[in-house]
């Protein structure tokens, strides 16, 4: 075979390769005139090589992004290096329909295009050859993958949120469990104290009677004192009466007994309140007097309050309210303690006002203080579990979140009115009857 024949064969081979290959191949010269347009390009563009060759690329395809593409081609002519376009950044160069007229997916064929410098006889770059690769399938797969990943992310976020909620719920459970066991403890103590109070009280009554009798006896003796003939005995008696200050003793004795009685009464009251407050035996829904609940709660926390604030009461008359009384008491306690803790001690005694009222099917209980008030940020985050502005050890930040949940359980709501530097007013609204609210 001659060299010429060999060359001819190679050329024919290359030509059929360019025509058959499943890649778009075209070439343009520096003026943009098309010098090569293979079958892939013809089939997908619907314009045959005969139509396109010799024409300006931008005349045949006016929809091409001309200034940008000219610049790109120019850079290949000047630098003699490849240039690229990628489907994920620029979906396509030529608007070709995709190869899925039936199964669908993307409207246009996604393309990666590489621009290659072709040097004529090893010198200047005479042509730029574009190779167009169909990336539609890759793009579709990638889209699916993206969607799947997005869905996974969404799921993950939802789970993370759930975990946060779970944690909050668990903490609230812990807190209410803590409160419940405090209640139980209080009730147990109350019960234990009740016994000794009982016998101390009955003994005291007997003691009181005996004392009265003894005093009566002594006064009768005193009346007969003048009739005692023995001078020495009389002197001894009057010296004793004087040194004992018997007149005072006679006066003071009933008073001491009275004071002890009062003390016992107070102990009894506190024990009652403790029992009321904890409602150990009644964890179910029941009708309760919220005014009484508020009072017993105040008594339980009285020690925290009495040196820091004067308490004003402003109770309206309330119907019995269907509620979980122990839990509502817990809400009142949180509000009262917060009110006390908000007081500015440098301004002396604060004032806490407890009010209640009744409106239609609703009752409300209000705790107002003239303390520091809240910042906008605190107001926003007030009900968040663990949100506290108090130093470590003083606040866990659970009080309001637990209260919120309790009131929520009662289908009620908490109103807040607070001004930094002026004070805070919380008003808890609960329906009188739960059934009227249930739906």
């Amino acid at each position: 075979m001659t060299a010429a024949a060999q060359l001819g064969e190679t050329c024919a081979l290359l030509e059929s390769l360019v025509e058959r290959i499943d890649v778009g191949i075209f070439a343009v010269d520096r003026s943009g005139t098309v010098a090569l347009w293979n079958t892939f390009m013809a089939v997908h563009s619907g314009k045959s090589s005969a139509v396109v060759r010799g024409q300006n690329l931008f005349t045949v395809f006016p929809e091409l992004p001309r200034p940008w593409l000219e610049k790109k081609l120019e850079s290949v002519f000047v630098l003699g290096n490849n240039a690229y376009t990628l489907w994920d950044l620029r979906p396509y160069l030529f608007r070709f329909p995709n190869n899925r007229p039936i199964t669908g997916g993307l409207a246009e064929m996604r393309q990666n295009v590489t621009f290659l410098p072709i040097r004529i006889a090893g010198g200047e770059v005479g042509l730029v050859c574009g190779t167009v690769f169909d990336y539609t399938d890759t793009a579709l797969a990638q889209h699916k993958l993206h969607d799947a990943i997005a869905a996974l992310h969404q799921e993950k976020d939802a789970q993370a949120q759930l975990i946060v909620k779970l944690e909050a719920a668990q903490n609230q459970l812990l807190q209410s469990e803590k409160m419940a066991s405090i209640g139980q403890l209080a009730a147990g103590i109350a019960h234990e104290i009740n016994n000794p109070i009982g016998f101390v009280n009955s003994n005291l009554q007997t003691l009181k009677k005996y004392c009265q009798q003894m005093l009566q006896l002594i006064s009768t003796y005193q009346e007969g004192e003048a009739q005692i003939g023995n001078v020495q005995l009389r002197g001894e008696l009057s010296a004793l009466t004087q040194s004992m200050d018997f007149d005072f003793l006679q006066q003071d004795l009933p008073e001491l007994i009275k004071e002890s009685e009062n003390g016992l009464l107070r102990i009894k009251k506190i024990v009652e309140d403790l029992k009321d407050f904890s409602h150990v035996n009644k964890s179910d829904w029941q009708y309760a007097d919220l005014n009484a609940g508020l009072d017993s709660t105040l008594n339980v926390v009285w020690n925290e309050v009495k040196y820091k604030a004067t308490v004003n009461k402003n109770y309206g008359s309330l119907p019995a309210v269907e509620c979980l009384a122990a839990q509502l008491n817990q809400v009142f306690m949180n509000l009262i303690i917060n009110a006390v803790q908000a007081l500015d001690e440098s301004r002396g005694m604060g004032t806490i006002t407890l009010s209640t009222g009744h409106q239609d099917e609703w009752v409300w209980v209000e705790v107002k203080d003239n303390g520091r008030g809240m910042s906008a940020e605190t107001k926003k985050r007030l009900f968040e579990p663990f949100f506290t502005t108090k130093p470590v050890g003083k606040g866990t930040g659970l009080g309001m979140s637990v209260s919120y949940n309790i009131v929520q359980k009662h289908h009620g709501r908490i109103e807040l009115d607070s001004l930094a530097g002026e004070g805070t007013r919380f008003r808890v609204w609960v329906p009188v009857k739960q059934t009227s609210i249930a739906d």
Binding site: K71, S75, G80, Y84, T85, L86, L89
Partner: protein
């Protein structure tokens, strides 16, 4: 650690090749972009693998940056990384005849296109002087608007150490600034040494 990749003569030759190559590159970039580009004197250094991310971060300065990588292949093998400081590419949209308002993909494409021009011109120029041909792979985005310390992670690097040639670009009248770093792994430097020896002999 000090890394002895190339001898003193070879180093000088590389510096010269880089200087001339960048000069030519500047001219062809100007032709493509239609504006004069300032190129710094190329800096040559050797770094350990662990030192590469820090070296890139030091070049890019504080803040966030994006980076594009492109492999070069042939007798000389390695990777080129172009670092763009925050938003500096916006400025070039006009020069490459892109739309004024760039969305995410268009902006990334612009970074790739500019990188292709810079890398092709600079490395092509040097290869020509060394009488060797190099080809380039398609480019890919290495990092998109990340803190400069995270442009490249040390554990992503497979080479033990690398020879690093760094050039800075500036355009007059524009805020655009970028760095081109050419990295050759230790085992590829032998070929570079041979090419440099050839270059020295021919002088």
């Amino acid at each position: 650690m000090t890394i002895e990749f190339i001898g003193e003569d070879q180093r000088e030759a590389l510096q010269e090749v880089a200087n001339i190559g960048m000069g030519q590159a500047g001219a062809s970039i100007a032709k493509v972009l239609g504006e004069f580009v300032e190129l710094s004197v190329p800096q040559i250094s050797a770094v350990s693998a662990a030192g590469i991310p820090a070296a890139l971060a030091a070049l890019a300065g504080d803040g966030v940056a994006s980076a594009v990588r492109q492999a070069f292949l042939g007798e000389l093998r390695g990777e080129a990384i172009v670092i763009f400081s925050e938003h500096s590419a916006h400025d070039l949209a006009e020069l490459l005849a892109c739309a004024d308002v760039l969305d995410g993909p268009a902006e990334r494409e612009l970074l790739l296109d500019i990188s292709n021009v810079l890398v092709g011109a600079c490395l092509g120029g040097m290869a020509q002087l060394l009488r060797t041909t190099i080809g380039f792979s398609p480019l890919s985005l290495l990092a998109d608007q990340v803190p400069t310390s995270m442009l490249l992670q040390a554990d992503e690097i497979s080479a033990r150490c690398a020879l690093l040639v760094e050039v800075r670009f500036r355009l007059e009248k524009r805020a655009f600034r970028s760095h081109l770093v050419m990295l050759m792994a230790d085992d590829a430097v032998a070929a570079l040494r041979r090419a440099l020896d050839r270059f020295i002999e021919e002088l």
